[in-house]
């Protein structure tokens, strides 16, 4: 391994990358923009969901219940009516996600101590938000009932008083979970794209052949290509973490060293993947498509959008092979649970092994395709 030759190659890459304004924008601005987009869009919080209320009672109590619904900012009432059919129509048209129908005689029943029942209709098309919304609505009604009972002097203070507290993310905002995960995905994307495309581009243009006929060894060539990408990806990591912490206020409670270590291994694995893709693509076009095709299962089976534990067993086992999955576990633990290196030993080990294996296999294949 001749250091001078590697340096010459790295310098060349640097010049090429920095000279092209489009690629500069892509390398540094795009990840930040994507983080912002994902950060805001990727929310599973039930927040100010459009709701409709049909009040057949129109009493102080029914109005109190309606008001209680909006407390906590989960629901936003966009429809008030006294016709039953309106709820159904609004649900059909997607104008509301949840509807509550208060029957006539609601207040009378409560005051007489007979108890009352309200109807809640939920749009189940998005089963996730439906479950959450349904739960919230039920709770609100229950709390309302308890308050009314207390007011009337009826002792309902019996039974279990379940007090919940959420650790690591007391306000239970889904962003705390999603944003660190997006960080991981963006790094993967960058590493893959830059490595694969740059190698294939040289093959397409014909400069790769020129390098092959020079004294440069395949190993030096690999380093010459991957070192610049690694540097860029690390810079991206810094940028993106800064945005996550400063803009989205995601707490970074764990050890930065652990984050760097985990990221380095992850980037190594991603570089290996990018290198591998470059050996099976003849044109930049092909490289891009292959990357896109590979990216989808990696994202789906990573635990980012969909929880792994609810997948069928076969797929759960498959996720073990996914470096993204391991990185996400580590990154979330570091951000939210304050994990240090000692806490993430297992995922570090697995990711480390994977990184070495993938990079090694890719390098071997690369060598073969050159010679």
């Amino acid at each position: 391994m001749d250091r001078a030759r590697i340096l010459a190659l790295v310098r060349k890459e640097r010049r090429q990358l920095l000279r092209d304004p489009k690629s500069k924008r892509f390398m540094f601005a795009a990840p930040v923009l994507q983080l912002l987009l994902f950060g805001y869009a990727a929310t599973t919080d039930v927040n100010r969901v459009p709701t409709g209320v049909v009040d057949h009672d129109q009493t102080q109590q029914s109005r109190a219940l309606t008001d209680a619904l909006t407390a906590g900012d989960y629901f936003r009432i966009v429809l008030r009516s006294d016709r039953s059919g309106d709820l159904g129509r609004a649900l059909d048209g997607g104008k509301i996600m949840l509807g509550m129908e208060i029957p006539a005689g609601f207040a009378a029943d409560i005051n007489a101590g007979r108890g009352a029942r309200v109807q809640v209709l939920v749009d189940g098309s998005n089963s996730n938000t439906a479950t959450v919304a349904q739960g919230y609505a039920g709770r609100i009604v229950q709390q309302f009932g308890l308050r009314e009972a207390r007011r009337l002097g009826v002792s309902l203070d019996r039974g279990v008083d379940l007090r919940t507290r959420a650790w690591y993310n007391p306000s239970l905002t889904s962003r705390a979970y999603n944003v660190p995960a997006v960080v991981g995905l963006l790094l993967l994307l960058m590493a893959l794209l830059l490595t694969a495309l740059s190698v294939v581009r040289e093959r397409e243009v014909g400069t790769l052949e020129q390098l092959m006929v020079s004294p440069v060894t395949p190993g030096e060539l690999i380093l010459g290509k991957t070192i610049p990408v690694a540097i860029i990806t690390l810079i991206d990591l810094l940028l993106v973490v800064t945005v996550a912490v400063l803009w989205f206020h995601i707490p970074l409670r764990g050890s930065i060293l652990a984050l760097l270590l985990a990221s380095s291994l992850y980037i190594l694995a991603s570089l290996g993947l990018g290198l591998f893709i470059s050996t099976i693509s003849r044109t930049q076009q092909e490289a891009f498509m292959t990357m896109f095709l590979l990216l989808l299962p990696f994202i789906i089976l990573s635990g980012f959008l969909y929880p792994i534990m609810t997948m069928p067993a076969f797929f759960q086992h498959l996720t073990v092979l996914n470096p993204v999955r391991w990185f996400l576990v580590m990154v979330r633990d570091i951000f939210l649970k304050g994990a240090g290196i000692g806490d993430i030993l297992l995922p570090l080990l697995v990711l480390g092994l994977m990184a070495v294996a993938v990079f090694g296999a890719a390098a071997a294949r690369f060598r073969r395709t050159l010679g």
Binding site: A8, Q16, R19, Q210, P215
Partner: protein
């Protein structure tokens, strides 16, 4: 004086297709050795095997004293190579490209300064170090490629169709550079499909469909052609050509600008018969002279002799 390149039954197959078929030849030190033939003749494949880029299917070769199969890695520091396509980095400047190749070939320090200055002067790019390579006209690009290929003063230089697409003036200038290098002791192996460039070489290898059909100095090759060629001046050359198409004793008749070039069968050196034929057909001949066969004529004749179809 041992040969700079010794090739022995070099063969390369791609699946069922034989690109280079048992090619053997020898190149002396300091020679300009040309590979001549149409596209698909196997010139590029042969060159790639000699530079270690492609492994031969069978056969062997020794380049600069090294076996191409076993010592390909060591070979690279001793040779220079210019590929058929322009293969320098368009998004780097002239200076940066030179610097890269210097770094790759281990040309450093004082030697770097010297060679860099030489390359710029040779390519006529002094003062243009900061110009993006993509912005250079093609002729200059090729000169830059040549300069960066010899930064490390290799003993052997392999050029694969270095002047394709370049205008004749620039081509002439390029060949002046090649001559300079050869005079200084570099052995140059160059492939081309421009017949007139072949004249510039010391020795030639004519290739067709992967096989050698002739080798030797250009003059010697020309003498291989025994068919006499005459140039005739007539009034309506296109129509005159038609009337000669199936004439006895005429191997081939073709337009050559406004004139007619007629190749007669070997041994039938009877130009007067042709003149009378044309006159009878209503095309009086105003002038006739015997011409030296060009290498293209030689090539076509040789190929035809082998019984092969002449490529377009």
């Amino acid at each position: 004086m041992s040969a700079a390149v010794q090739a022995n039954e070099l063969t390369r197959r791609f699946g069922g297709f034989t690109a280079v078929d048992h090619v053997s030849f020898q190149v002396e030190t300091g020679e300009i050795f040309g590979f001549l033939g149409p596209n698909g003749a196997g010139k590029t494949t042969t060159l790639k095997m000699l530079t270690g880029l492609l492994a031969p299917t069978s056969g062997s070769a020794v380049v600069a004293g090294l076996d191409i199969a076993r010592e390909a890695r060591a070979l690279r520091s001793r040779i220079g190579y210019m590929s058929q396509r322009f293969s320098r980095y368009g998004d780097l400047t002239v200076g940066e490209n030179l610097e890269l190749f210097a770094g790759l070939y281990g040309v450093t320090g004082e030697r770097l300064t010297r060679r860099r200055a030489w390359a710029l002067r040779m390519a006529g790019l002094e003062g243009q170090e900061d110009r993006l390579t993509a912005d250079l006209p093609l002729g200059w690009k090729q000169r830059l490629a040549l300069g960066s290929a010899v930064l490390h003063e290799p003993k052997l230089l392999f050029l694969d169709e270095p002047t394709s697409g370049v205008d004749p003036m620039a081509r002439r200038a390029f060949w002046d550079l090649i001559y300079e290098l050869a005079a200084a002791g570099t052995t140059v192996l160059v492939s081309t499909h421009y017949m007139e460039e072949a004249e510039y070489c010391h020795r030639l290898l004519l290739m067709h469909r992967g096989r050698i059909i002739a080798q030797g100095p250009p003059g010697e090759l020309r003498s291989l052609m025994t068919e006499p060629i005459y140039s005739l001046r007539v009034d309506h050359a296109p129509r005159a050509v038609e009337s000669l198409q199936h004439a006895a004793g005429v191997r081939e008749a073709a337009l050559f600008g406004r004139d007619l070039h007629v190749v007669l069968d070997p041994g039938r050196d009877d130009p007067d018969a042709v003149v009378s034929l044309l006159a009878a057909a209503g095309h009086p001949v105003h002038g006739i002279e015997r011409v030296e066969p060009s290498l293209e004529d030689v090539f076509v004749a040789l190929v035809r002799r082998e019984g092969g179809a002449v490529p377009a």
